[in-house]
Structures are given as structure tokens and as C-alpha cells.
Subunit: 107 residues, 2 copies
DNA sequence: CGAACATTTAAGTGATTGCTTAAGTATAAT
DNA sequence: ATTATACTTAAGCAATCACTTAAATGTTCG
């Protein structure tokens, strides 16, 4: 058995700039490989492989249409990233609030 | 010249689970390597190397205190991640709103 | 059917990663 | 000064990565 989709972590899926670029492109609209690949200075297999990783992370879905494969953004898993980063948001937005709290408790 | 800090991309800095764990640990409080390393099932050099990557991404800062190095979270660069992911937020939160808008414009 | 097309899978490669152990460098304690 | 402490840097290694070209797999069209 050669094996299935091979689930990848969403964080490492988005770590490659090329893959973020692909997501960004798909955010405008779903499209077939061919058209998607036009945007990038990369061989078709390279794009296909990136897509496989994104698919493994659940970030894109594919639909067959004749001999084409239409790729579509599936942003759902990015919510994990949003939730993760939100935990740290207080460290940069809360600076003033934190100072206020400190001064309140240490007048 | 062996070279400087070597700036790393914040996205790849946070792609490694070990590094996210380190950030999480540092979010509770700043601490010296020694104490930080206790939390992990990893050699000291391994932690040190992860820290170097995080430092390269500007996610931690170091301060010398005697022979110790006190590491401190610097969440600032995570704002880039937050901003990036926010661009996609509409794709999972806005489903209903988007449908509403669509129906409004295409009654 | 056979040729053209859209895409994936395979195979190979150089670079990078995540770790390890061993050796170095600074600072502090005796 | 010597030795212990707290770390970093170096060297090495197996695994993974991001690509490439070449070959294979559907799928449509003439």
C-alpha cells in the first residue's frame, strides 16, 4: 500500500511561502491546477505537490471536472492558527492595559 | 565571519511544535535556559538551538544575568501571523454573513 | 481506436531540519 | 588559580523538504 492523504500539521503547511501564495491565490476563487500554476514560477509537479500538502492539512479540497481538478480553498483549519495566535494577542495589544493593571495594584 | 543572528521567517519559526511549546512556556514567565529546558524531553543544546531560531524571528529576547541567560517572550512578530490569518477569517466566520450579502444583492 | 491534454506519481538531488554528543566560552564560587 | 556552572558552538547524521525531469494515469476528442 502506497498510503493515504498523509495528514499534515496546518502550521507546517502554512510555513512555506509558496503554499501561502497558493492559498492567497485560491482565496480569490477556486480554479484548476493549470490556471493556478500559471501564477507561479514553478513546475507543475511542484505546485501539485504543494497542493497535496495543503490537502493533507485540510486547507484545500479538490473536485474533478473532466480531466481537470478544481482546487478550492478550505480555510477551516486556519481557525486553529487564529486561536493559537490569539492566545498571544494580549502580549502586544495589552501592553497599555497591563501597565494600567500594574499601576493599579502597585500605586 | 561566522555571521549574525540569521533572520528567520516567523511562520517557519512557529511551524515546529517544540518551538510553539517553548513560546507557550515563556508566555507564563521569562526564565533562564536551565529552567526552560527542564520542561522538555530534549538535550540542552536542542533547546538552545530552538531558542536561536526564535531569536532570529524576533520572538524571544535574551538578557544576561551572571552566567545565566534569561529568555523572554517577545510576541510582537506574531502580529504578522494574526494579520495574515485574519485575511482568511471571513471564510469560516462569514459564511452566513456572506450568504446574507449574496441574497441581498441577488434576491 | 489513438493522439492530445490535465494532472499525478516516481525517482533523484542538493539544502535544510531537528536532533545528538563532544568541545568550547564565559562567569562564578572555592 | 582551579573547578564547577550555565550555557553556546561545532560536528555529524538520518530524515524531511522543495524542487526538478521523466514516466505513468486518467479523460476527452477526432
Amino acid at each position: 500500500m502506497t498510503g493515504q492523504p498523509l495528514a499534515t500539521d496546518v502550521f507546517s503547511a502554512i510555513s512555506a511561502p509558496a503554499r501561502r501564495a497558493i492559498l492567497s491565490r485560491l482565496a480569490t476563487s477556486e480554479m484548476p491546477m493549470q490556471k493556478l500554476a500559471e501564477s507561479f514560477d514553478m513546475s507543475l509537479p511542484a505546485v501539485s505537490q504543494h497542493l497535496a500538502v495543503l490537502k493533507g492539512a485540510g486547507l484545500v479540497s479538490v473536485r474533478k471536472a473532466g480531466r481537470q481538478r478544481i482546487y478550492k480553498l478550505n480555510a477551516g483549519p486556519l481557525e486553529d492558527v487564529a486561536n493559537w495566535v490569539q492566545e498571544y494577542e494580549k502580549f502586544w495589544t495589552g501592553k497599555m492595559a497591563a501597565l494600567g493593571d500594574y499601576l493599579k495594584e502597585n500605586p
